[in-house]
């Protein structure tokens, strides 16, 4: 079973990564993550918003109400400088972890 620390870490990386390309509101963010990971990562409302609020509290992202093209008010999130700074080491950490796991499983299968 995947521990909550690992789940949270991957979720944070996923959110920071999709926001790197521009501001998004919650629903669109969840859709992008699902599409780009081909369904491997899925965020329900219950999983997404507590995570977004926590990341906002930490100063990694900032939400602001904006008017969409359809005229609806939506809260859009964008990366803050602190979030941009966080993304690079986070990516490196996860790349190292997955690299290590890959090596380990290859050795195990050999």
């Amino acid at each position: 079973m995947i521990g909550s620390g690992i789940k949270r870490g991957t979720a944070e990386l996923a959110i920071l990564s999709v926001l790197e390309h521009g501001p998004l509101h919650g629903y669109e963010m969840a859709r992008r993550i699902e599409q780009q990971t081909k369904g491997a990562l899925r965020f329900t409302l219950a999983a997404l918003y507590p995570m977004l609020y926590r990341m906002e509290q930490r100063g990694w992202i900032r939400g602001a109400w904006e008017i969409s093209q359809s005229g609806r008010r939506k809260r859009c999130y964008r990366l803050t400088p602190a979030g941009k700074k966080k993304l690079s080491p986070l990516r490196k950490e996860w790349a190292e972890l997955f690299g290590a796991l890959k090596r380990l499983t290859k050795v195990s299968h050999a």
Binding site: P23, L24, H25, Y27, A46, Y49, P50, Q57, Q69, R75
Partner: protein
């Protein structure tokens, strides 16, 4: 179609947030549910099923409420209070007092109003009052930059007058009760003049600076269009 706003408001009614924040969370989650429902409908699901699948995103509303409370007012609250209120507020206070010191030493003489014979006088350092909006704006800007809410931003801007307000609102009435030998009309006049000179007038000018920053920030974030599906 359900009234998503009402549904979220009912199910997350006990969020431990202030009214403004609570409304924001309700509106945001309702917008998410509504969009989700519309996509299911556009994919051809009948209304009942679309509603059920939309609601299935939240298995336990109580748990969601707990998580949101924990995320928004949890362990980082202290850090946020420091960066969004105390630090900008104290800087505004230091700047205001520094400016007052400079004005008293090098500025023009204050306008002095004699209210009545034997009662305290009202002194206005007009040049100080004229530059105070800058200090209020600085406090508001620093708070906003740290992600402060409207309330935090405005509180940071008027922070320098808050200690005076507390002193006047507590110390003078207490002094009135304890000091029986003080004439009531003197205490009342002191309360009025000091309150006006040290709380209301500077508070209003600081607030003006803070309000301007808040207005500029809200304009900047309010007119950005975004692409949605």
């Amino acid at each position: 179609m359900p009234d998503w706003q009402e549904l979220v408001r009912q199910r997350l009614s006990s969020l431990a947030l202030d009214a403004e924040e609570k409304d924001e969370v309700h509106a945001e989650l309702a917008a998410h549910l509504e969009e989700s429902y519309e996509v299911f409908r556009a994919e051809g699901l009948p209304e009942y099923e679309a509603v059920q699948r939309t609601l299935a995103q939240v298995a336990d509303w109580k748990e969601l409420q707990r998580k949101i409370d924990s995320a928004r007012i949890g362990k980082d609250t202290m850090t946020n209070r420091v960066t969004q209120l105390w630090l900008p507020g104290l800087l505004t206070f230091a700047l205001s007092m520094g400016l007052l010191e400079l004005v008293q030493k090098f500025g023009p003489r204050p306008i002095i109003l004699n209210l009545d014979k034997g009662t305290p006088v009202l002194m206005f350092y007009t040049s100080w009052l004229l530059i105070l909006p800058l200090a209020g704006a600085l406090g508001a800007y620093l708070s906003k930059r740290a992600g402060g809410s409207v309330r935090m931003v405005l509180a940071s801007s008027i922070f320098p007058v808050l200690p005076f307000a507390v002193v006047f609102l507590i110390a003078i009435p207490v002094g009135l009760v304890i000091g029986h030998n003080l004439a009531h009309h003197i205490v009342t006049a002191a309360f009025f003049t000091m309150g006006l000179g040290w709380v209301l007038a500077p508070g209003a000018t600081l607030f003006a600076g803070g309000l301007l920053v808040q207005f500029l920030f809200s304009r900047r974030s309010g007119f950005h269009g975004v692409t949605t599906s």
